[in-house]
Amino acid sequence: MKKLLSVLLLFLVAACVKNDLIDYSSYYFSNDIFETQGGVVLDASLVEINLDKSGKYVISLEDEFTSKVVTKEQFTGNKGANVLYVFTKIVPKGSYYLTLIDKNGNQVQKTKISI
C-alpha cells in the first residue's frame, strides 16, 4: 500500500512540475540554415547549424538595409550539427543577415532570412 501511495505521489509531483517547455514543433529548418537563402523564420523556429569544430561562436541578426545589429548571441557550439532557436516576437519585421562568427571574430557563415 505504501509503495502504491509513493508511486501515486510521484505521479502527482511530476504532474505539478512546471511544464513550460515551448512548443517548438511547428517550425524546423532541417537543413543547415546557412545553406538556405531567404527563408522566413517565425517565432521559436529551430534552425540547424553545422560547425567544423567546437568552440565559442557569436550568431547575430543584422538589418539588411541599415546594417544595424538588432540581436546577437554568444553560444558554445559542438562540431557537427547544432540546433538553435530563433525567437522573433520582438524583432521588427524585415529582412536580415544571419551571421555566424567564430571566437577570433572571423565570419564563418552568412545568409539572408526574413522575419
Binding site: 517547455l21 517565425l42 557569436v58 544595424k68 545589429v69 546577437k72 548571441e73 554568444q74 532557436y85 530563433v86
Partner: protein, 587 residues
C-alpha cells in the same frame, strides 16, 4: 400628284405632334432682389427654391394637351419638399401625391429613358427596396383642364436644400420618369412625349463640393500610422464633437487625414490628433504600444545634455542665451514645468524623467499624449523665432485649429507641425525652418562641427556623428546575460541611453550592473517589456569611455537552450559634451 404626295406625307404630319416636359430651376422662393432670379450656381445649403415642371406642345392647332399624369422622383436626402403651387390657379383639376422613399424606378426594357410615354406604357416597374436603399422619393402630378391647354409651367415645386455630407451626389436630384398626356376633348393620347430639354435637375451647392485634407508634418522618427485623428466642432454647449459623417481614424503613413466629411467654411473646426499605438501583428497577435513608451524615445538623455549646456553656457556674465539653442521652439519645449521660463527647475525635471527617479515623469500621473504634445499651424511654426516665441501658446494640446473660413475656396489643405514638451533637440518634432541663430552657427563653424549641431535631429540632419555600442547575449548558469559595451571613437560622451526590449513571455528582468566612471549618474528602469538604462555626466572632465559596460541579467520563464532574438536594442541615444546628439549604432 399633289394629292398623292399629301396622302403619303399625311401620316407623318399627323404623328409629328410632340409633347415635351422639362424640369427647370425657377429662382429662390424669396429673392433678395425683386424681379431678379438668383443664378442656380449661387444656390447653397438651406436655400429654398422653385423647380418648375413645364410642358410644351409642338403643334396645338388640332390637339391640345389638357390632361397630364407626370411622374418624377427627387432625392429626399438632399431636398426637403415644401409643397407645390398650382399655376393654373384653380381652373383645373389638380392632384399631387408624394410616395414614401422606399421605391426604386426600373426603366422600361424597350423605351429610352427620355421617352416618357414609352416608360409609362411599357414594362417599367417600381421595386420596393426600403428607405436605406432608395435615394429617391416618387412623386405624381395629375392635372386636367376643361378648356385651356396645359402649357408652360404646369407645376411649381418648392424645395429646400438639406444639410448633406460634402461630396454628396446631387446628380439627378429631380428626375422625370414617365408621363401620360391626353387631349380630353378628342380623347387623343399623345404618343410622343419626351423629356426635353431638362429631364433632370443636377445642381450641387458649391459648399458641398469642398474637399479638405489635414496633415501632420511628422518627422521620420515618428510613425504617423500610430496616431489617429478626426475633425471636431463645438456644439451648442461648447463641447467639441464630431460633425455628422466625420471620420476618426488612423493617419496615413504620410500623416494625412481626409476631413472633408462634416467640413464647411462657416463653423469652427479643429482636428484632434491622439495616440493610438495599435499594432497589427498577424503572427504573434495584435498589441498596443502605450504612449509612455513612445514618449521615452522622445525625451532622452541628449535632450537633457543639451538643456544643461544651454543653461551652463551663458557667457562670462551668465546673461547670454542661444549659445546652444538655435530655435525658439527649443526654449518652449525646454520649459517643461510651463512657468514661462526655461531654468534649472526644468532641467531637473527633465533629468528626473530620463532617470525615472521615484517614477518621476513629465507626463505626470496620467501618461497620455495630451500631457506632452503641441500642435502649431505650419505658418505659426515657421514664424516662431528665438525673439518672439513667448508670444505663442506653449500649453500641451491635441488640437489643431483650422483656418477654414475662407470663401471661394474648394480645396482646403491644412498642415500642422507637431512638437513635444521636453523634446529640446527636436528629435521627434517637425523640422523647424532654417536656423537663424547666427551666434550659434558662427560658434559651430569655429568648432569645425555641423552648422546646427544642437538641434541635430535624425529628421533634420542625417549626417550625425556616429559612435557604436556592442550587444551580446548569453545563456549562462541558468541566467540570460545581455552585455552592452561602448566604442566612443574620438567622441567625449556625456550621455548615453538605451532601450533594450526583451520577450517578457520568456524572460523576467532581474538586475543591471553598471561599469562606468565615478562621476557618472547611472539609471535603469524596467518597463515590463523593455529596460531603459544609460548614464549621464553633468559636469567635470570625465567622460563615458570605452570601458563603459552594462550587464543586464534575466531569468528564463521557460526552458531555454539559447537566446537569439529574445533581447534586442530597439532605440539608442547619445550626446557628447558639446551637447551634440550622436548616432549610436549597435554592432
Amino acid at each position: 400628284m399633289k394629292k398623292l404626295l399629301f396622302l403619303l406625307l399625311f401620316p407623318i404630319f399627323a404623328f409629328s405632334q410632340s409633347i415635351t416636359i422639362s424640369v427647370d430651376y425657377a429662382g429662390l422662393i424669396v429673392e433678395p432682389v425683386e424681379n431678379e432670379i438668383t443664378p442656380v450656381t449661387d444656390l447653397e445649403i438651406g436655400d429654398e427654391f422653385y423647380i418648375d415642371i413645364t410642358m410644351d406642345n409642338s403643334d396645338n392647332s388640332e390637339r391640345k394637351a389638357t390632361y397630364a399624369d407626370i411622374w418624377f422622383t427627387f432625392k429626399n436626402d438632399a431636398f426637403e419638399y415644401l409643397g407645390v403651387i398650382n399655376p393654373l390657379d384653380g381652373t383645373n383639376n389638380w392632384y399631387t401625391y408624394q410616395w414614401p422613399s422606399i421605391y426604386q424606378f426600373n426603366n422600361s426594357s424597350t423605351a429610352t429613358v427620355d421617352d416618357l410615354y414609352g416608360q409609362y406604357y411599357t414594362d417599367h416597374t417600381w421595386s420596393s427596396v426600403g428607405d436605406e436603399n432608395s435615394d429617391h422619393a416618387p412623386m405624381q402630378i395629375r392635372t386636367q383642364t376643361a378648356g385651356p391647354e396645359l402649357t408652360g409651367t404646369v407645376a411649381r415645386l418648392k424645395f429646400k436644400y438639406k444639410q448633406v455630407q460634402n461630396g454628396f451626389d446631387f446628380s439627378e436630384s429631380v428626375f422625370l420618369r414617365k408621363a401620360s398626356v391626353r387631349d380630353n376633348t378628342t380623347g387623343y393620347l399623345f404618343t410622343d412625349v419626351k423629356a426635353f430639354p431638362n429631364q433632370t435637375f443636377d445642381n450641387a451647392p458649391a459648399s458641398t463640393t469642398v474637399t479638405a485634407q489635414f496633415k501632420v508634418l511628422f518627422p521620420s522618427t515618428l510613425d504617423a500610422t500610430l496616431f489617429s485623428a478626426g475633425i471636431y466642432t463645438p456644439d451648442s454647449d461648447n463641447t467639441w464633437v464630431q460633425p455628422t459623417g466625420a471620420i476618426y481614424e488612423n493617419l496615413s503613413s504620410t500623416g494625412t487625414l481626409n476631413v472633408t466629411q462634416g467640413f464647411n467654411i462657416t463653423d469652427d473646426f479643429a482636428v484632434i490628433t491622439n495616440w493610438d499605438g495599435y499594432v497589427v501583428d498577424a503572427e504573434n497577435g495584435d498589441y498596443t504600444i502605450p504612449f509612455s513608451e513612445q514618449y521615452d524615445e522622445i525625451v532622452t538623455i541628449s535632450d537633457v545634455v543639451l538643456a544643461f549646456n544651454e543653461l551652463a553656457n551663458r557667457g562670462i556674465n551668465m546673461d547670454e542665451t542661444g549659445n546652444e539653442f538655435n530655435y525658439g521652439i527649443q526654449y518652449m519645449n525646454a520649459d517643461v514645468n510651463g512657468d514661462g521660463s526655461f531654468d534649472d527647475q526644468d532641467t531637473y525635471l527633465m533629468l528626473a524623467h530620463v532617470l525615472d527617479s521615484d517614477n518621476s515623469s513629465l507626463l505626470g500621473a496620467n501618461p497620455a499624449m495630451v500631457m506632452a504634445s503641441k500642435f502649431y499651424s505650419k505658418a505659426d511654426w515657421d514664424a516662431i523665432t528665438i525673439s518672439n516665441y513667448s508670444q505663442y501658446p506653449n500649453g500641451t494640446t491635441l488640437m489643431s485649429f483650422l483656418d477654414n473660413k475662407v470663401a471661394n475656396t474648394q480645396q482646403f489643405s491644412f498642415e500642422s507641425a507637431i512638437t513635444w514638451k521636453g523634446d529640446v533637440n527636436l528629435s521627434h518634432s517637425t523640422a523647424p525652418p532654417a536656423a537663424v541663430n547666427t551666434s550659434a552657427i558662427a560658434k559651430s563653424a569655429s568648432l569645425g562641427v555641423l552648422a546646427s549641431p544642437q538641434a541635430a535631429r535624425f529628421a533634420i540632419n542625417p549626417d550625425l556623428i556616429t559612435i557604436s555600442s556592442g550587444l551580446v547575449t548569453e545563456l549562462k548558469d541558468g541566467k540570460v546575460y545581455a552585455t552592452v559595451t561602448l566604442d566612443p571613437g574620438t567622441q567625449e560622451i556625456a550621455g548615453l541611453q538605451y532601450k533594450l526590449s526583451y520577450d517578457n513571455t520568456k524572460l523576467t528582468f532581474d538586475s543591471i550592473n553598471f561599469e562606468t566612471v565615478n562621476t557618472s549618474t547611472n539609471f535603469g528602469s524596467n518597463k515590463q517589456n523593455y529596460v531603459k538604462f544609460g548614464s549621464f555626466i553633468k559636469s567635470g572632465d570625465e567622460v563615458l569611455s570605452e570601458s563603459t559596460k552594462y550587464t543586464l541579467i534575466f531569468t528564463p520563464k521557460v526552458q531555454l537552450t539559447n537566446t537569439l532574438g529574445l533581447i534586442v536594442i530597439s532605440n539608442t541615444d547619445a550626446a557628447n559634451k558639446k551637447g551634440q546628439q550622436l548616432n549610436l549604432e549597435i554592432k
